[in-house]
Symmetry: C2
Subunit: 195 residues, 2 copies
Amino acid sequence: MNDNQSTSDKILMAAIDLMSEKGYDGTTTKEIAAAAGVNEVTLFRHFGTKQKLLETAFHRYHYAEEMTKLFQESLKWELHTDLLLISRTYHKIMNRNRKLLYIAQKGSSSLPQEIYQEAGRHPRHLRNLLTNYLTAMMEKNKVMTANPEMTAMSFMWMNYGAFYSGLNAKGASPDQPLDDFIEESVRLFARALTP
Amino acid sequence: MNDNQSTSDKILMAAIDLMSEKGYDGTTTKEIAAAAGVNEVTLFRHFGTKQKLLETAFHRYHYAEEMTKLFQESLKWELHTDLLLISRTYHKIMNRNRKLLYIAQKGSSSLPQEIYQEAGRHPRHLRNLLTNYLTAMMEKNKVMTANPEMTAMSFMWMNYGAFYSGLNAKGASPDQPLDDFIEESVRLFARALTP
DNA sequence: ATATAATGCAAGCACTTACTTACATTACGG
DNA sequence: CCGTAATGTAAGTAAGTGCTTGCATTATAT
């Protein structure tokens, strides 16, 4: 049981890579083992089951508490500056866990529900934080909107859409278009919400 | 070959229903036949292959020319009114083909590329139409933005995100939250872009 | 009423997949 | 250097999958 860290990791990484491209059902244990440069039996000795293998991978999906901390500590209560920071952090987190999110998105009939819950946690959390922020800004007379929750949703969905439409799909892509989008969209929201 | 329309349709509908939930790989031909109330052999006699069955289903994905016609005929050159119409039409089209889009989104290693292309056609098309519209509105001094293409993308991704996050996932849902979102988000964009 | 086409049924085939077992080989720390 | 743990190799199992075949049954149209 004293896992050779390196071997387990190689298998996990290979599984994540393949499954994020071909889905859980479409990826075989033989493929994973081959991609990891390891015998298929070793895979089963480490994880017992294909499903447990993926669950282990998702366990490493450490939900970033970054967002909570950001909302507690780093906000300047200046709309444009804050939205920019929020959007950039959002994409950083999503990007870091991109492959796992893709796996959850593709889904499968034989996948434990826990995985989908984990994948949906971050967006729901952000929606709440953002709604509260906008409400507080309204009380400071620094934001004007008829419906802070819907405004928060709009901002979230815009970034969600940008992420899943593969804006930053390539591995070490230059990220320039992403930055352009973030700046332009934040400018738009700031202008719309400023009283 | 003179297909009994009703039988073929039952099979196609069952396939779309199941695959949109469990993915192409996760759905068996036996299941499809059972859900259609038909013998599995009948399925193969009609479509020959599981893959050809899905391709036939996608052939019914009649890409709505509605959008093009809308941009040619129905625009009032009044920002708020036009964005509202565009957003509503977008969600109408997406919703009509929701299940097929879900199948493409889940994907599979053994799915013909044609299917993904078809699924991506509508968003790309809308982006172009919307960019051109915003540019024209700028020339009329009715819209102000530094980057019409990015603005179009932002609007598109926002609606794309709202759609895929399952805002309207339930079959005959009341659609009230969707309407709320559309109105609030259009108001926001109109305010941001009005000079 | 009879020919023709569409469907059902039972069985099976060829192949893949997740997973197992038994045994040989290597790596490695005390 | 030796014992133990980790890995490789080969073979196989049980179940599931897409798909086929042969034949019986039902519907439909002329």
